[in-house]
């Protein structure tokens, strides 16, 4: 044998990666459909209804259209970086799913397979690391376009993401004080065994996390990087064809992933509410492990709906309002939440 590698494990992980990536892509595709349908519902319209039954094939038609559009790379742009930008945005959007526990351990062909690609010691910090890389996709794309509007939008986007990452991290620290572990699987396990979701202990922390997640995904009311009436179109103004598609798609994948993270951290992950899974599994009901991922997807679906609900309800913030909210309201609130949680944890442990 050339290298001492557990080939079966490698194959298992590879299959898992392929499944998770394709699931996120399909969900992102149908998020675009859901967005248009929900917008239509809120504005008393019908929405897409031509392609297929109920317009269900609309995302495929959109994707096909994007693929066949003409590729334009501006003459004055930096060609390599111009292509690297959307690639980075897409890559960082996909990488986060590696540490998320999608379910417990299931038995496939006599092997017990964990439905998590990598259960690493630093779990949630890995997510933060990848998210902080996501800024580069926007910045490089905006700069390489060699267009003033793109650059302005990219700088806006980057400073917005950095500002809100701080409050997000601080609200997370309060949660980590209670769980005592960065492993996402441990955080879910604790919620499953106690039966009480973290949102009960950390309502303020969750609220801050939610607002920051909106800002991190560049969603309305924080969609300033793409404020079309001030900046024409945003950082992807010069992009066309599938490179533009990558940027738009990355946003929808980010929305999906941040919904998964919120469900995992605060809403019990793949925990089925009001059901004691451990007792059922002990009686030999292993099929319950297959229900877990479905439950997670339902929770995620609710968050995705929330993202869209807010988008079609609340108008865009002004840039100074955005910065004020981030630095002067959310960060002090998150700090307060952290101190309170710390004091409570100390008091209860005594």
């Amino acid at each position: 044998m050339l290298l001492a590698i557990d080939w079966l494990l490698l194959l298992e992980k590879l299959v898992l990666i392929v499944i998770i990536v394709s699931v996120s892509l399909v969900i992102a595709m149908y998020e675009t459909y859901a967005e248009r349908k929900i917008a239509a519902f809120m504005q008393d319209r019908r929405g897409p209804n031509r392609a297929g039954p109920f317009g269900l094939l609309q995302p495929l038609a959109d994707g096909g259209k994007l693929f066949f559009k003409e590729e334009i790379i501006p003459n004055t742009s930096n060609k390599f970086l111009f292509i690297l930008g959307p690639c980075l945005a897409m890559m960082t959007a996909m990488m986060t799913s590696a540490v998320i526990p999608w379910g417990g351990t299931v038995a496939v062909f006599g092997r017990s397979v964990s439905l998590q690609i990598a259960d690493i010691n630093i779990g949630i910090l890995f997510v933060f690391g990848v998210v902080s890389m996501g800024v580069y996709g926007i910045m490089i794309g905006g700069w390489a376009s060699n267009n003033k509007f793109s650059l302005l939008a990219a700088l806006r986007g980057a400073s917005q993401m950095i500002s809100y990452e701080l409050a997000m991290g601080l609200s997370l620290i309060a949660l980590l004080m209670m769980t005592g572990s960065l492993r996402l699987s441990v955080i879910v396990d604790q919620q499953m065994t106690s039966g009480v979701w973290n949102v009960v202990y950390q309502p303020l922390g969750f609220l801050i996390f939610l607002v920051c997640a909106f800002a991190e995904c560049n969603r309305t009311p924080f969609d300033l990087p793409e404020a079309e009436n001030e900046l024409n179109f945003g950082y992807h103004q010069e992009y066309s064809s599938m490179k533009l598609g990558f940027y738009l798609f990355a946003e929808y994948i980010n929305m999906f992933i941040s919904s998964v993270i919120m469900a995992t951290l605060y809403f019990g992950g793949y925990d089925i509410p009001f059901v004691n899974e451990a007792a059922l599994i002990a009686k030999g009901n292993n099929w319950i492990q297959w229900i877990g991922p479905l439950v997670l997807i339902i929770k995620v679906g609710f968050f995705i709906f929330l993202f869209m609900w807010v988008r079609w309800t609340i108008p865009r913030f002004r840039y100074d309002q955005l910065m004020n909210l981030g630095w002067k309201k959310l960060i002090p609130l998150a700090l307060l939440n952290m101190v309170l949680t710390g004091a409570l944890v100390l008091w209860l442990k005594k």
Binding site: A4, S132, V135, M139, A154, L155, L182
Partner: protein
Amino acid sequence: MGVTQILFWVLTVLALGSALMVVTSRNPVYSVLYLILCFFAISGHYILMNAQFLAVVNIIVYAGAIMVLFLFVIMLMNLNASVEPQKNKWLKIAGAIAGGCLLLVLVAAFKDADIKTQLVQTKDGEIGLINNLGMALFKDYVVPFEISSVLFLSAMVGAVVIGKKE
């Protein structure tokens, strides 16, 4: 050659190559991007030693936050290859000599250090995991840790005060 060794050599070549490109590329934006690549390679080395926390903090803080600020400044000042000032030849030579001196000191310092006799703990080292690191920082070294955080705070306050002055 095991997997660890292959990864080590790949990461080493990547780190040194990108570090060289930081110095030699003419476009400042490329320099910053190569520096980010270099940080990733170094984080890879940390992961080889199972120092997961160090690796991810290196990425979040250096590659994710500080380099973004670098990129910000370079993009806002619109620096590119054509406006890069041509430096004096003597300055380059002086820089090379100064760097060489630092290398000499480092080599001399590490030549007889007992680090050399200790093997690197790959894969199963536990020192770099967040649990042990936290214990060390908040139990054994809590005073230096707090002093350094006060230093950081004063630096931040100072920056705000300077920024506020008209």
